[in-house]
């Protein structure tokens, strides 16, 4: 691998100053489970790695009943999965995060890094979308917020501008009668990259018989994680029923635009979009009713 320098930044300001020096050739290092492989294979280059694992806000994992969840961009998956409070409050997110790689990867890889790597098949991103997560970005112009569904621009590309980096992700506290789930299809049992994935969240009315709102997002069926607002909107105000769920699944499937590649055919992915959306909705409803 080409030589690079390495700096462990102590503050947000230091990160921004370093990023501003040489654009593309300065890269953020969080868990490194994607970046180091890409550098080794020549798919990305870097002259300087800026390690953000000592930047306080990027390493914060905190839940507050009013403010909700703050996940620093560098927080490793294992910290989230081992946090029983967060795992019980956000099961639909934690189950997605727990799918990333295997145990060794979980020890380093971060949710923020999974997002910034911007794979179309990223498992955490549909889960973040259906939780309506917000990305907190810092840069030379100050801070800005971006809805997570707008963060990925193309495979491997984000909307981060030169000098900017993802500091943290924010999720609202779970509302009453809210439930979310993420499911994916892989050929093996563990470790694979999703052939297709679906995240779903629902909020039910007081009698738990009607959808107040719903949200559906798909993995690996478009150049970026695919938010399908119309699939969720079709459920608003409807009675919870197999027919309603099937309709949402059909709309999600129609919105999917997968390609055929070594992991699966477009036809299989289209089929899976509907099946996984239905199952994710059913699981989300079960959680909302619990």
């Amino acid at each position: 691998m080409q030589a690079f320098d390495y700096i462990k930044a102590a503050s947000e300001a230091e990160v921004i100053a370093l990023l501003s020096k040489d654009g593309e050739q300065v890269r953020i290092l969080s868990g490194g489970t994607d970046l180091l492989v890409q550098l080794r294979e020549g798919r990305r280059t870097a002259k300087l790695l800026v390690d953000i694992k000592a930047v306080p806000e990027a390493n914060e994992l905190a839940y507050d009943p009013i403010e909700g969840l703050r996940v620093g961009a560098a927080v490793p998956c294992c910290r989230m999965c081992d946090d029983s409070t967060i795992a019980s409050l956000y099961p639909g997110l934690v189950e997605a995060v727990a799918l990333i790689g295997g145990t060794q990867i979980q020890g380093r890889a971060s949710l923020g890094g999974n997002l910034c790597n911007a794979s179309p098949a990223a498992d955490s991103i549909p889960a973040l979308i259906v939780h309506r997560a917000t990305c907190i970005i810092a840069g030379p112009g100050g801070r800005r917020e971006v809805a997570v569904e707008d963060f990925c621009a193309a495979p491997g590309q984000t909307i981060l501008q030169p000098g900017e980096f993802l500091v943290s992700l924010r999720l609202a506290p779970p509302a009453p009668r809210f439930g979310a789930a993420y499911l994916r299809f892989i050929p093996r049992n563990e470790m694979d990259i999703a052939v297709a994935g679906a995240g779903a969240s629902v909020t039910l009315n007081e009698s738990r018989t009607t959808f107040v709102s719903a949200c559906i997002a798909l993995a690996a069926v478009a150049p970026t994680p695919l938010f399908v607002p119309e699939a969720g909107e079709t459920l608003t105000g409807r009675t919870v029923s197999a027919e309603a769920i099937a309709e949402a699944a059909r709309i999600a499937q129609a919105a999917s635009r997968p390609i055929s590649d070594m992991r699966g055919t477009a036809a299989q992915r289209k089929h899976l979009s509907a099946v996984l959306t239905r199952r994710a909705l059913e699981k989300a409803i079960e959680r909302a009713r619990a």
């Binding site: 691998m1 080409q2 030589a3 690079f4 320098d5 390495y6 290092l29 868990g31 490194g32 489970t33 180091l36 492989v37 550098l39 080794r40 294979e41 790695l49 390690d51 694992k53 490793p76 294992c78 790689g101 295997g102 145990t103 060794q104 990867i105 020890g107 380093r108 049992n189 563990e190 470790m191």
Partner: protein
Amino acid sequence: MPTKVLVQTTINSEPVEFLCEPRQSLLEVLRETLGLTGAKEACNNGNCGACSVILDGVLVNACLVLAVEADGKTVTTIEGIAPRESLHPLQDEFLKQAALQCGICTPGFVVAAKALLDRNLQPTELEVRRWLAGNLCRCTGYDKIVRAVLAAAARMTPQ
């Protein structure tokens, strides 16, 4: 400008200092600089787990940790698993259960299994298999490995 960085770590309970370039992985330094060749380079991209080590109590692939990132941290490698003059129950059970053939994956499996037993001495078979999903074996078909881990766990569980 110096190209090398001084890194201070604790490896298998011993203080260790080394010089390395930032681009060198912890795996490379363990093997090439420190002579700790127990961790193996097989895939070098985080898929196979043959380079598994425990970093500040967390199971990781040493190929995906830069050596410079180990500064100030503790590392446990396969060389540090066995107590003084005997074998760790995991090592003993791997031998008893014939849970290895060529042995190239074995250090990674033993370290990974130790990390599991450090947090849960009574894993179910499913929990063992899930935990070890990041460790690949070409020879054994995994069954004897799983039995060895469960047998070691049973031995280590206080009665």
